[in-house]
Amino acid sequence: MSTQQPIKLDFGVVHYDLMLPPIIKRNYGKWKYHEIIKPGILKHVSETGEEFYTVRAGAPKFASVDTVRKLCDLADKYCDGYLRFTSRHNIEFLISKKENIDGLIADLKKMGLPVGGTGNSMASIIQCTAWMHCHTAATDAAGIGKSVYDGLFEYFQRMDLPAKLKIAISGCLNMCGAVHCSDIAILGVHRVPPKVIDEIVSKACEIPSLIAVCPTYAIKPNPKAKSITIDPDKCMYCGICYGMCPGVPLADPKNDGVSIWVGGKVSSTRSGPMFSRLVVPYLPNNPPRWPEVVDVVKKIVNVWVDGAKKDERMGEWIERIGWGRFFKITGIPFTDKHIDDYVFAIPSMSTGAQVRL
C-alpha cells in the first residue's frame, strides 16, 4: 500500500466552469444590483433582466459527510444541483427559481440549520481547528464558537445591528482564525514559557534556526545538553519555537486560557481596515461552554448595539467615543498589558495633552 504511487500530479484545480449554475454563466459579470429580501436571502438582478436568489445558511464548519450529502440533496431539490460556500464558511444555496425559496427554508429548518448572516447581522464565526486537531492550541475554537453562537443566536437571524458583526476565534497566537482584524476576536493564549525537553530538542530540532526564530531572543544554546535554554524573563509565550520544534511544548492546563480583542475590520470602507485591539488579556479555559467568554462577548455586543450609530462597525464606534470610554462602560479593567510595548509601541501612545477625564 505504502509503495503505491500517485496516478498523476500537478493537475491543479477543477475549472469553475464545471461548478457554476447556468444562470450564473449567462449573467456572469452582468449583475446590476442586489437586495437583501430578508435575513439570509439575497436577490441579485442582472442587466439581462434575470433574477437570481441566494439562501445563506449557517452550518458547523466541521461537518460529517452525512450532513454534506444532505446539503447536496437540498441543492438538488431546489437549486438544480448547485451550491457554494462563502469565504466565512457559510453555505449558500443558489436559486434560479424564486418559488423554491420557501420550501428550501422549511427544509433547512427541519435540518436545524439557521438562515441568516447577511446585511447588518452577526456573520458566521471564523474558527481554526484548535483542540479538534491542533498541537499548538491553548484553547478550543469550535467549542467556544458553538457557545458564542448559541449566546448570540438571534443576531445571526436579524439585521438590525449597527453594522456587520464579524467574530473570529483562534486557538493560539498563530491566528489561523485571522483574529487580528475582527470586530470581536477570541484568541487562545499561553502564559508560561515552554518547557525544554532536552532529549527531544537534541534529536528532533535544528538548534540554530530555533534560536533565530524567537522574536525576543529568549532562546540561548545549551551546548552541554545539545539543547537550548529559554530565558523566562524574555519569553512572551508566543509558541513560535514550538511550531518548529516538538521539544518545547507550552500547553499548561492551569495557565492557558483565552484573550478577547475588539475593533478589527478588513474592508476598505469608510475608516479602512483596522486591527483588533486587546481588551481582556486573560480568561480561564472553562470548557465545555466557556461562560466567562460568552458573557464578555455578549456584554461587548450589547454596549455596541446601545451606543453605536448606524453603519458604525465596532472599531469605528470605539474610535469615536475613545478607548477609555469603552473600558469604562464595559467595566473591563484597563491594565499595563493593554499598553503596547512591542516594536511599534511608540506610534500607539497618546501624544500631546488631549485627555478625556
Binding site: 500500500m1 503505491q4 500517485p6 496516478i7 500530479l9 500537478d10 493537475f11 491543479g12 484545480v13 477543477v14 475549472h15 469553475y16 464545471l18 461548478m19 457554476l20 449583475w31 446590476k32 444590483y33 442586489h34 458547523p60 466541521f62 460529517s64 459527510v65 452525512d66 454534506v68 447536496c72 448547485y82 451550491l83 457554494r84 460556500f85 462563502t86 469565504s87 464558511h89 439557521p114 484548535a130 483542540w131 486537531h133 491542533c134 498541537h135 478550543d140 467549542g143 457557545s147 453562537y149 448559541d150 443566536f153 497566537l173 485571522a178 483574529v179 526564530v213 522574536p215 513560535i240 478588513v266 474592508s267 476598505s268 470602507t269 475608516s271 481596515p273 470548557p287 465545555p288 453603519d311
Partner: protein, 384 residues
C-alpha cells in the same frame, strides 16, 4: 435508563440552537477523535502532537501531519488540504464524490473550509493517503499548499454573483493557481506566501488582512451615478446626507435632488456604493489595486497589506500581474530569512530597496504620509 455517555463533557456542546460540531463528529463514527477530544476537554490541554513529514510521493506539501500524544486513544490523523474550486462553487455531483472518497479512506469529517480556503479533510491514516489522493485525482481535486510555498489561494464570488466586482476573480484565481502548482506542491521558499483575490475594496476574502499579496478590484474613472435612483433611495427613507458624511474624503455632496461627486477626492472605499447599489456603481475603467505584506501574528505583530500598485489593468493573459508576482517571489526567496514573510523582508530591507528590485515606482498611494525621520539612504550615483 439511558446509557451513560462516553463523552459527557462534549455532550454539553450538543445543546443550544446552533448546529453542533460534536453532533457532526458523532455522525462520522470517528470514535478515536471523539474520545481524544473528550480527553482534551477533560485535561484542558491539547493532546495533538507534531506529525512529522507525511505526504503523497512527488509532493512535499498538501498534507498536515498530525499524531496524538495519546496513541492509546488515537494514533495518526493527518489532514488533506485540497484546493477549493474558485469561489467555493460546487456542483453537488462533485461534492458527493468527495464525500464518498473521504468516507472510504478518511474519517468522514470535513472542515468546510479552511481559513486559507482549502477544502480540509481531517483524519487520514498514513497508509490511506495515496489511494485517497488517487481517487481525488480522478475527479480532479488536487492537493493544496503547506509549509514554505505558495499557498492555496482564494477569491470572492466576484462576477459570478456580485455587481460590485471590478475584476474576474474566478478567472484570476484559476490562472494563478494553475501557474504556481509547482511552487505550491514543492515548498522551497523562506515561509508561506498567500495570495487572495477580492473583486472590490469590500474585500470579501479578507485579502488585506490575510495575504502576502492581495489583488483587489477597483476602478480608475469615476463612480457611475443614476440620480433618479438616488432620489428613490431618498424618498424610501435613506439618509443621503449621512452617506455623504461617512465618505472618508468628503467627496460627496447631496443637495436634496442631486448627488455630486468630486471624483478626484474619491478613494474608492465603496461606502456610498454599498449604501445605494441600485444608484451607484463602480466606474467602467476597471482593474485592481495590488497590496503587499499582509499577515497575522508575525515577528513584529500582524501586518495589514499595503498598497504596492495603486491601479493595474488585470486582463488575460495577466502578463503584468504574473511578471510582478514572479519578481516579488524571486526577490523574497533570495533575501528572506527562514520563517520571514515577504512583508517582513520588505520591512527589514526598506520599501525603497524592494521597489527598485521589483522595478516599481515609488508613489504617494503607497503611504499614509511621508517619513518623519531623517534617516534615508542614497543610491550609488546619486551623490557626487
Amino acid at each position: 435508563m439511558a446509557e451513560k455517555s462516553e463523552t459527557p463533557i462534549l455532550d454539553e456542546l450538543e445543546k443550544g440552537p446552533w448546529p453542533s460540531h460534536v453532533t457532526e463528529l458523532k455522525k462520522t463514527g470517528y470514535k478515536g477523535l471523539l474520545a481524544l477530544y473528550e480527553q482534551i476537554y477533560q485535561d484542558k490541554m491539547t493532546h495533538w502532537a507534531h506529525g512529522g513529514m507525511v505526504g503523497v510521493p512527488g509532493y512535499d506539501a498538501g498534507v498536515i501531519g498530525r499524531v496524538s500524544d495519546r496513541p492509546d486513544i488515537l494514533k495518526d490523523a493527518h489532514t488533506f488540504r485540497i484546493i477549493e474550486p474558485a469561489a467555493w462553487f460546487y456542483k453537488t455531483e462533485y461534492l458527493r464524490k468527495i464525500c464518498d472518497t473521504w468516507e472510504k479512506y478518511g474519517s468522514g469529517l470535513m472542515n468546510l473550509h479552511g481559513a486559507t480556503g482549502d477544502l480540509q479533510l481531517i483524519g487520514i491514516k498514513t497508509e490511506n493517503m495515496v489511494p485517497c489522493f488517487n481517487e481525488f485525482a480522478q475527479i480532479g481535486f488536487d492537493l493544496g499548499g503547506s509549509a514554505g510555498d505558495i499557498r492555496t489561494m482564494s477569491c470572492c464570488v466576484g462576477p459570478a454573483r456580485c455587481e460590485f466586482s471590478c475584476i474576474d476573480t474566478l478567472a484570476i484565481y484559476q490562472e494563478l493557481t494553475m501557474s504556481y502548482l509547482d511552487e505550491m506542491h514543492r515548498p522551497r521558499f523562506p515561509y508561506k506566501f498567500k495570495i487572495k483575490i477580492s473583486g472590490c475594496p469590500n474585500d470579501g476574502v479578507a485579502a488585506t488582512a490575510r495575504s502576502d499579496l492581495a489583488i483587489i478590484g477597483t476602478w480608475r474613472d469615476s463612480i457611475r451615478i443614476d440620480q433618479e435612483e438616488v432620489r428613490k433611495y431618498a424618498s424610501a427613507g435613506l439618509n443621503i446626507n449621512d452617506v455623504c458624511a461617512k465618505c472618508p474624503t468628503e467627496a460627496l455632496e447631496w443637495n436634496g435632488t442631486e448627488l455630486k461627486l468630486n471624483a478626484d477626492d474619491c478613494v474608492r472605499c465603496m461606502h456610498c456604493i454599498n449604501k445605494m447599489p441600485k444608484a451607484l456603481r463602480p466606474g467602467i475603467d476597471k482593474g485592481a489595486t495590488i497590496l503587499i505584506g499582509g499577515r497575522a501574528r508575525g515577528r513584529y505583530g500582524a501586518f495589514l497589506a499595503w498598497v504596492l500598485v495603486p491601479f493595474m489593468k488585470v486582463n488575460p493573459p495577466y502578463t503584468e500581474l504574473k511578471d510582478l508576482i514572479k519578481k516579488i517571489v524571486e526577490w523574497w526567496d533570495e533575501n528572506g530569512r527562514t520563517k520571514e514573510r515577504v512583508g517582513e523582508t520588505i520591512y527589514r530591507f526598506g520599501m525603497g530597496r524592494f521597489l527598485r528590485a521589483v522595478g516599481l515606482p515609488a508613489v504617494p498611494q503607497q503611504i499614509i504620509r511621508p517619513r518623519a525621520n531623517p534617516f534615508w539612504f542614497y543610491w550609488p550615483g546619486e551623490v557626487k
